[in-house]
Symmetry: C2
Subunit: 394 residues, 2 copies
């Protein structure tokens, strides 16, 4: 019950045991096409360029940024948590001229603040986290995406923590590139990064396909720089996933099986029902924590459905509580980073763990551990709070 | 029976179905330490910095090169097949000043030719493939490693295709960095890259840990450049695998389970017995192909144990034979690249497929398919050749 990685769905774990096939076996081509179509459903997009990057969610982030950013490009990164700082750092390593704006952790940007920064900075690319697990809140994206489209700014968003458990619309929101991972609401293991790219993003990448020392115009000015990475060169990776089926690296077949099964689970459930499920059980967890007398962290109007921040009560040793939950109840909850370190726990309710039994068991166990740690907790308050929430939601 | 990826060992496939644990669960720390120790056995090294990169074998190559090469560094890449060209390309994308020497495909360099180039080019790093699956031959490395050590040149080698099926000695041969994959003689799926780094390589990486705009000396000259990649920053990844246990990306836990099981299989068998097994069954396959009247490709004195190149007989359509083997016998053999395209097939005998039954079945099937394709093949010649080899090897 941490903020991810989480307990994987048994169907996903079993999928990885399937026999391997060669990466040019006709069966493999069909598996890839099926996976792409499933992820179009998950990302809510018609993008042809919807595929997997072979690495963890961070590999998907870096593939998108290194493929879209040329050295010297101006990039705007609004930061409201740890993963905003990660986008800043990766963009800087790509050679970008990075501009940032920041918000206090636990809050999100009013969209007009980001739009004003777009006008002030005039970046080529906006890189913005959707849901930042470090702070538990999700940035509203629809207005910002529309503003990017009006201004011709490329819009990249990291949806690793949010996808599948919170509303997300690639096409309707004007997103040019989105990357994810399996280890949150997708109920799988870390190690494969689903990614989708708009035609506009694909055109930017296609212009950089030369690996020569630079593409020059008639006046010998460099107009495009080669992509700095081979492994993350989305131009070459698209040629592998696309009709050309050109060889790049050897596909991570077992992780493709896992990613495909994750998407099947969501598409079978439908995206809207999956989001409702996360909202229901995440809401019940929040109500239960309040019922234990604990104070919730962050802007609750913008809280992600799938992760709840809660202040560690005064006088309680946070790490001792986490240790007891793991040792005595086999339940893991999350610590926190940066300015929140030692101040809050983060409890995940996502993917295979977004269930009534996991919510109630966690609350029952937490009550016992808190009591033994010397906190004054109302007997049954957590479970009562959650059950009341379930009752009112029905 | 292609040149990889190959049929994975069922033990490895089952290992991926194990439940996930959080990446800071004490159990996970123990799994990581166990995996590191197992790979020290596989790589034949005492290097503390022995770990997994979360991506395919190509991810390991890029992690090593982008972490060791600073922009402007002189790098020597001897090329004797497709993967030498890949090392050249990746080094160039890292900003290296790349120098190459080339040999005809199917041959290897006399070590003194590489050593002479070391003296002529005086590189910071030598990047050299061990076994190049595209040509089926393996470059002798021991003398070259000793020469690098004498000259203070960093020595990187890609052992993806060779490790586990051919003799390889990280420490005894003076190798500073070696990277591999699971999908060849390690009998697993693509998606995790075992890697080992000498103390000398770790020191080069440690000097680059600043992500600032460069580390400057007293005269404000830049003396070290930050690593261009976050995902492949081996300095940060070593802090995750090392005693500090700092957070980096979310570990690809299921692939770690796979990599661990691959190493267990080899360490249980012992490395020398595994190499002998590949030599035995690879030799039987080569003898069987000769028994079918086919001509072997490449310098047989330097052929890898685990992959055999064989010329497509005149008048036979190579792709039709591959198609019939797959459709009618469920056996995949490999095509070839570059100057060898359309001229040879490549047949793998590696990992879980390095067995007597797979060798004999493949030879029996190939005989039938070749005969139906119009080739004059001696009845039973393939199986007779292999059985004679097995008999003489006992």
């Amino acid at each position: 019950m941490g903020p991810g990685p989480i307990t994987a769905d048994p169907r996903v774990l079993r999928a990885m045991s399937a026999a391997l096939v060669g990466q040019y076996d006709p069966a493999m081509t069909a598996y890839m096409a099926e996976t792409q179509e499933l992820y179009r459903g998950v990302f809510r997009t018609a993008n042809a360029a919807t595929l997997l990057v072979d690495g963890t969610s961070r590999a998907g982030i870096e593939a998108a940024l290194v493929s879209l950013i040329e050295p010297g490009d101006r990039v705007l990164v609004p930061i409201f948590g740890r993963f905003g700082f990660l986008l800043q750092e990766i963009a800087a390593r790509c050679g970008a001229d990075v501009h940032t704006i920041e918000r206090e952790w636990g809050t999100v940007f009013p969209p007009e603040e980001v739009i004003a920064a777009l006008d002030a900075v005039q970046p080529k690319l906006l890189a913005l986290v959707h849901g930042d697990t470090s702070t538990t809140v999700a940035q509203p994206l629809a207005e910002i995406g529309a503003a990017c489209q009006e201004r011709g700014v490329l819009f990249y968003t990291d949806v690793t923590a949010s996808l599948g458990g919170n509303e997300f619309e690639t096409d309707a929101w004007g997103v040019d590139a989105a990357t994810a991972g399996l280890q949150k609401c997708l109920a799988g293991p870390s190690g494969s990064s689903p990614i989708t790219l708009s035609d506009r993003a694909v055109a930017v990448i296609a212009a950089r396909k030369s690996i020569e020392a630079g593409i020059r115009d008639a006046d010998s000015q460099v107009v495009a720089h080669p992509i700095r990475s081979n492994y993350f060169d989305l131009g070459q990776i698209l040629d592998y996933w696309g009709e050309k089926r050109l060889n790049h690296h050897t596909e991570a077949t077992s992780m493709l099986y896992a990613a495909r099964e994750c998407a099947r689970l969501l598409v079978e459930e439908t995206m809207s029902v999956a989001v409702e499920r996360h909202a229901l059980h995440g809401g019940a967890m929040a109500a239960g924590l309040a019922g234990l007398g604990l104070e919730l962290f962050g802007d609750q109007d913008h809280r992600m459905n799938n992760v709840i921040g809660v202040f560690i009560p005064a006088g309680v040793e946070g790490e001792a509580v986490r240790g007891a939950l793991l040792a005595d109840y086999a339940i893991e909850i999350g610590t926190s980073f940066g300015p929140l370190h030692g101040r809050i726990w983060r409890i995940g309710v996502m993917g295979y763990n977004a269930r009534r039994d996991t919510v109630l068991t966690t609350l029952a166990a937490l009550e016992q551990v808190l009591r033994r740690a010397g906190a004054a907790v109302p007997a049954g308050g957590g479970v009562d709070g959650a059950l009341a929430y379930y009752g009112s939601a029905e």
